[in-house]
């Protein structure tokens, strides 16, 4: 099936198999390997991206369902070589260790601030409960979101 979509501001018009998952399209066809596959069952959140401004687990969606959509992945977050405030915060606060959950986690954390510029610790923790991390114990991730909020990343 032929679909049209925009990814990180760039237009794509691929011909895809109807059963191709969006995450496989992004990674294997479009060459955007930032979003990762941790479970293929939408339980771990490593594949989290934004579709039309909404946070989505891209292993739970077919590529054809993204026809006409505006997609943002971790690769599109930095603008003109400048990191997004959430990326900068993860770096400063040591919000990552092995880095595998990180692209999905950063996208999920960005989505939290998009809806709530000054979340409480509880709101942050519940906001990322769909994203598993085995390395950090989440504490530095919570700190990262707070640091990003403090510099106005959600406004």
């Amino acid at each position: 099936m032929k679909i049209n979509l925009t990814i990180n501001g760039k237009k794509y018009s691929p011909d895809v198999e109807p059963r191709l998952l969006l995450i496989h399209y992004l990674r294997d066809v479009a060459g955007l390997t930032g979003a990762h596959i941790g479970c293929e069952t939408s339980l771990c959140g490593a594949c989290t991206i934004e579709v039309n401004g909404k946070s989505v687990k891209s292993c739970g969606m077919f590529a054809v369902q993204a026809d006409g959509a505006d997609v943002l992945t971790i690769e599109g977050l930095a603008q003109d070589g400048k990191l997004h405030a959430m990326q900068e915060a993860f770096w400063n606060q040591h919000g990552l260790q092995c880095g595998f959950c990180t692209p999905g986690m950063i996208m999920a954390c960005k989505a939290i601030l998009d809806h709530n510029p000054n979340p409480s610790d509880d709101e942050i923790r519940h906001g990322i409960e769909g994203n598993l991390c085995r390395c950090t114990g989440y504490q530095h991730i919570v700190n990262s979101v707070k640091a990003a909020a403090a510099v106005g990343a959600g406004r």
Binding site: H36, C39, C44, G99, H126, L132, R134, Y138, H140
Partner: protein, 776 residues
Amino acid sequence: MATTIIQTEKLVGKRIRRREDPRLITGTATYVDDMQMPGMHHAAIVRSPHAAAKIRSISIKAAAEAPGVVAVFTGKDTEKVGPVPCGASLPGLRVPHHYILAIDRVYLVGHPVAVVVATDRYLARDAADLVEVDWEVLPAVADPEKAIAPGAPPVHPQWPDNVAFVYNQEGGDVDKAFAEAEVIVKQRITSQRLIPSAMETRGVLAEWRGADRQMTLYTSTQVPHLVRTLVAGMLGLEENRMRVVAPEVGGGFGSKLNIYPEEALMGFVSMKIGKPVKWIESRRENFLCTIHGRGHVDYFEVAAKKDGTILGIKLKLIQDQGAYHQLLGPAIPTLSVLMMPGLYRTKNIRAEVIGVFTNCTPTDAYRGAGRPEATHGIERMVDILADELGIDPAEIRLKNFVHNEEFPFPTATGLTYDSGDYAAPLQKAMGIVDYTKLRAEQAAARKQGKLMGIGICTYGEICGFGPSPATPAGGWECGTVRVEPSGKVTLLTGSCHHGQGEETTFAQLAADELGVDIDDILVLRGDTAIVPYGIGTFGSRATAIGGTALYYAMQDLKVKMKKFGAIMLDSHDVSYANGQVVCNKMGKSVSFKEIAAASYRAMKLPPNTEPGLVSTHFWEPPNFTFGFGAHIAVTEIDPETGQITVRRYLAVDDCGNIINPLIVDGQVHGGVAQGMGQALWEQAVYDDNGQLVTGEYTDYTMPRAHMMPWIESQHTTTPSPVNPLGVKGVGEAGTIGASPSLVNSVVDALSHLGVRHIDMPLTPEKIWKLVAGGKN
């Protein structure tokens, strides 16, 4: 030549952000599944749905004819590939031949029986479903105690008692200790099976170039050199024809400290089809086919005097080995034995370990690897003893600690604790939480019918694995320091970090040691074609051993640079300081960059000195290092639901000198999360047929953000005398300290109801039943 002498700022001890992070936060890092190659094929593996069965026949015809399929292989094709190796050796150890694909019988759910290779990953999976196996299902056994009971189905028919090994260790005079005891406490304590669950599953990409007789294996591993040696051996390939690359690795926690069938299988397939082939483990496969951790049933007995002095410890340890031995499996419970006296002075111990085959996933090293189990046991027993004698849990620990003047302290299990001040972290922790006030609050809460607990764990950790005689594959590490002609510094390490941050901490060490800008330093690891033979990252060893190897290589280079500096300054009275060679008498210096250039240009060489600036050291540690600490958990329990709330969690760890406190905090937090996962939520559950019931994230309760409390991390600092950096290790500390402090806390909350012990995980159901029934 310059005349100014620069004083550089020291970086060791600074909370600096990590140098490896830019690629990870921008999604540009390269994990195995991010790699594509021209002509690359995809493999899907057909696995057993039964825990024990004979294979009557396998039909691959439909799969072989499916669209996109280029090959299907079964055990008959791979029979000559060497077995998956067990590196552990114990007297009388029974080692089943571990074929990479089953021949005529399977021993666990997930046992690989065939591999389907196709042009596309979807087509490979489609075709895998078309492989038909005619099974003769056999009875299975999944519980280690049931497995050694009479009449249990044999996992391996040649060993009907299901005993994989029996290992005994004794120190001191245990019988005398128990004869003289005024009190003896006994308890059965389990350390349940856990699933390591690194966020990146395993994955292998094999590329065979027949004309060059050259194999490149990209694999998500903690030990690339071991993979090279052992997988080359399995494939009958000369070791120097095999290159192993661990690209970005998405977590390991011990689960990637191993050699797996799929590593050799992808090599085999690539050699057969003459194309690169990739296999990426699904999460379901990861739950079934990557090693599990723990799996203990421990019977503890502690003999003591009425004043709380511990006289001796007995342990019968039943270790669930699973169906096979993976690389280190049988060695793991022996580490529990080594650590069973904890931080206490007792010289009398006796341990009997029974390794048991079950129709389950093999157990092996998972974060802590034997030490969390041992610590959980002794720390629970000390609390039980304190309860029995009516002594405060903190007081009984302080009474039994090894004294400061006794270091280096030889233990009853043959270790030598390097250095310590065991009371310091406990006293610091008690001060921070105001222990006395907490106990008063608890007493008041009880009067109001509220359930509040205070749990202490004081732990020791064997870090820095380890002296070679104590480590199956050598316990040293290699480090190369190469100063390039431009003065840039490249560090090559045999450590193979996968989240621990050594691209930063090793650069901090080198910046200080050599006196160069940290931005001039690059750390490389994980490629056997680039790095001299290394051992890898596990057992809290990278900084203590890998860092020390680099340290000694840098000392060599400084000596050599001084020789070059001396001829450049035409003076014998020179010294190396802050990235320069200085002649104080003349007030002149030559810079690092100038020396680097001169050493490669080689116009004038110092006597008996070769051009260039490269040094490699293989550092063999004289001993382990021993980290220690005290964790305190304060919990509250809702009697209506059995729900546990961790009100406060404090970790005071002593890991020796700290290079980067930010990274150490991260290691502690992550470690505590895994220990808390074991204490409260996680358990690999098998049914009686050997089916893994908790085979997905839906059923296996890994900690999520909203479940975790705030973790306070503090330190005391006792440098290790074992290495010149004074470092010990901290990778596993949190995991070791967390489960006993939490369980002790919850048992403490319920102790007035007659509860003395609860096995992990402390599910609300278990707690509610205890509150409702008042007994354990």
